[in-house]
């Protein structure tokens, strides 16, 4: 028997993800993780938005840093970036928002999702240090594939941060095996090809893919890209995902209520509640 890659040997970072997955396992639930852009539409509202997501029952947070050229994002998240950039939001402002969230919610896992040039511009080490100080648990760089990831993974570890890797539906065995070796925190399982957006729904992850993820012992897979309804969350979890991430659908609610903050916050809370309710196994 191959015993070299056991789940427990994975780098556990702050342990917030592993604690979350243990807690959810006990109550037989999957995780629901909303994504929003930090600083969208401006920092103060952004903080209130994140609080509303947590109050609605989010198990963890996936947070973006606005970037000028987001090649993996569809129109909804592009527009969120543009709104934040128009409000002159800089990476430093994003870390401030995260620090505030962390101060109020010491246990919730917080993941960053962003693009490589923002990390390079600050200096990779410096960037991970700032993230770690702000209370970030994991970082996913949308344009750093496994093949370019080693340098980031090593620096991440040095700052007690888990580097999140992406398992696309078209991944080769070689890729999945490497994700098995290197993943930590969770694995971002792509629900479909393409860019982010609620317009095209995620596919149910193929059983063969889920089996392979288990075989290679990757960190728990969260299904993302094209998740916008409780039914999809339910199906994702039934078919073996550890939970689901919903970005564009969440951001759409922000966009729809830009001129009415109370309505925005209560709609976000209600949305998360309905998605979370679908995580019960």
């Amino acid at each position: 028997m191959e015993q070299t890659r056991s789940q427990s040997a994975k780098f556990d970072g702050s342990a917030r993800y592993s604690k979350m997955f243990s807690r959810l396992n006990e109550v037989e639930q999957g995780a629901f993780v909303p994504f929003v852009m930090l600083g969208d539409p401006e920092p103060e509202t952004s903080f209130e938005i994140i609080k509303a997501l947590i109050e609605g029952g989010a198990d963890a947070l996936e947070l973006g840093i606005p970037y000028s050229d987001p090649i993996a994002d569809g129109p909804t998240i592009q527009k969120a970036s543009i709104r934040a950039l128009k409000s002159k939001v800089r990476p430093g402002d994003c870390f401030e928002i995260i620090s505030k969230v962390r101060a109020e919610f010491p246990d919730i896992p917080i993941g960053l999702l962003l693009y490589s040039n923002l990390v390079l511009a600050k200096g990779v080490d410096e960037f991970y240090l700032s993230a770690s100080k702000a209370g970030v648990d994991s970082i996913l760089i949308a344009d750093v594939p496994l093949r370019e990831a080693d340098r980031f993974i090593n620096i991440a570890k040095a700052h007690n941060i888990q580097q999140i890797l992406i398992a696309p539906p078209n991944a080769s065995d070689e890729t999945l095996s490497a994700i098995g070796d290197k993943s930590a925190g969770y694995t971002y399982l792509l629900g479909r090809a393409g860019v982010t957006g609620a317009e095209t729904a995620a596919d149910v992850p193929a059983k063969a893919l889920i089996d392979k993820l288990q075989q290679y012992q990757v960190a728990p897979p969260l299904l993302g890209f094209g998740i916008s309804t409780p039914e999809q969350v339910k199906t994702a979890i039934q078919s073996g995902a550890a939970g689901a991430i919903s970005g564009s659908a969440t951001v759409n609610i922000i966009e729809k209520h830009l001129d009415d903050k109370p309505a925005m916050l209560s709609a976000l809370k209600a949305f998360v509640q309905s998605m979370k309710a679908a995580t019960q196994k």
Partner: protein
């Protein structure tokens, strides 16, 4: 893992979403297979010769240079079908598309020259082309939009971001990440993720190879310098490739200084030099302190790009190639001078290379042979230049 080097020193790489890695690997494999396939090479060579018009001429300028010590040659990519060097590598990648069993082609274009080359190759080879073009460029380059549509390509205006070339590349990559099974992304310059910089160089390297043969025939020796403009870097790397191992041949790249490299309005990425990642490669880019990409500017749309091919970044880094910047005004002067003195109307892009070569020619104190890559012809620029020069002509 990759079969070819993905990097040039630290530069280059494959900084793309994981989703695109299999498509890039498939492309690398197809490129390698095609290299060893005589049938592919024969078809490519025959298209270059019988359809596109290779080899292109090399012309010794008669009236342009007053310094008697200097001979200035022009490598005439402006005579190539399509009006610019772009056609070379587009034919190669279009054949690769067929080889991979794909029937659709995605491309980006700025000035429209790469779009036109893509449209013509797809018309010829029975491929379906969709071409992303910044909304601003669609307006600025209306004749090329018409050419593309005439040859059956779909032109898709891109409104996001600054509405220029970099946004067209973003959109093309977004499209590709959903359609890689049936579509090939036919990138238009020697930039982007591996294997594009290598493929584009190899499919343009005949520019330098022909130059070597032609200059040996005419002069019996290699040139002292080859000079080319650098947007993403394809015509320059095509000219340089065959001379990289000839230390006595200076390799000179000319970037757009726009309104001056000390203003914000330029596209001289290597000359102003900050490193970062854009469109899949680690290279020199234009960015602010936080790493947000800044808009570039140049009078010539084809040089208006805030990054540069990674091999140029490397050649600069190791000191093998030299890079200079030429302003809009200098380029416009060279544009008019070539028209008046030699009866050749160059592309505004190529006029940058020419302007720098003319400065070199003036300053030369020894016998000097310079070859300028005249990467394209200026027909596409006439409306724009008329607007700028107006009644000053």
């Amino acid at each position: 893992m990759n079969k070819l080097d993905t990097k040039f020193g630290d530069f280059g790489g494959m900084y793309v979403p994981e989703l695109l890695i299999p498509a890039l690997d498939q492309l690398e494999q197809a490129f390698l297979d095609a290299k060893d396939d005589p049938g592919f090479q024969e078809e490519f060579m025959s298209l270059l010769k019988d359809y596109a018009g290779r080899p292109t001429a090399m012309t010794l300028s008669r009236n342009l240079v007053s310094n008697p010590k200097v001979k200035l040659y022009l490598k005439r990519e402006d005579l190539l079908h399509g009006g610019a060097h772009k056609t070379n590598q587009v034919l190669g990648q279009a054949l690769l598309t067929k080889r991979m069993g794909k029937k659709e082609v995605i491309a980006e274009t700025g000035a429209g020259q790469h779009g036109v080359a893509t449209a013509l190759a797809c018309a010829l080879l029975g491929l379906k082309a969709r071409i992303y073009m910044g909304a601003k460029d669609v307006e600025r380059q209306a004749p090329n939009v018409f050419r593309m549509r005439l040859m059956g390509a779909e032109v898709i205006p891109v409104d996001s971001g600054s509405g220029t070339l970099k946004d067209a590349v973003n959109e093309a990559m977004r499209d590709w990440s959903a359609t890689y099974d049936k579509a090939h992304y036919l990138l238009g310059t020697a930039a982007g993720p591996h294997p594009f910089p290598t493929i584009v160089r190899e499919y343009h390297r005949m520019i330098g190879e022909e130059t070597r043969a032609q200059i040996m025939e005419k002069e019996g020796r290699l040139p002292d310098a080859v000079v080319a403009c650098v947007g993403g870097g394809s015509n320059a790397i095509g000219m340089f490739a065959d001379f990289i191992d000839e230390p006595d041949v200076r390799l000179i790249g000319v970037e757009p200084a726009g309104k001056g490299v000390h203003t914000k309005e330029h596209g001289a990425t290597i000359c102003t030099g900050t490193k970062g990642i854009l469109h899949g490669a680690f290279t020199f880019i234009m960015q602010d302190h936080d790493g947000q990409i800044e808009e570039s500017y140049s009078v010539s749309a084809g040089l208006d790009y805030p990054a540069v091919g990674p091999q140029h970044a490397y050649l600069h880094d190791i000191g093998r190639a030299e890079y200079f910047a030429v302003t809009d005004t200098e380029a416009l002067n060279a544009f008019q001078l070539l028209a008046r003195k030699e009866g050749i109307i160059p592309a505004l892009e190529s006029s940058h290379a020419l302007a720098h070569a003319l400065n070199m020619a003036e300053e030369a104190e020894e016998e000097t042979i310079i070859v300028v890559n005249l990467s394209g012809r200026g027909d596409k620029d006439l409306a724009h230049v008329t607007k700028i020069l107006g009644d000053k002509l």
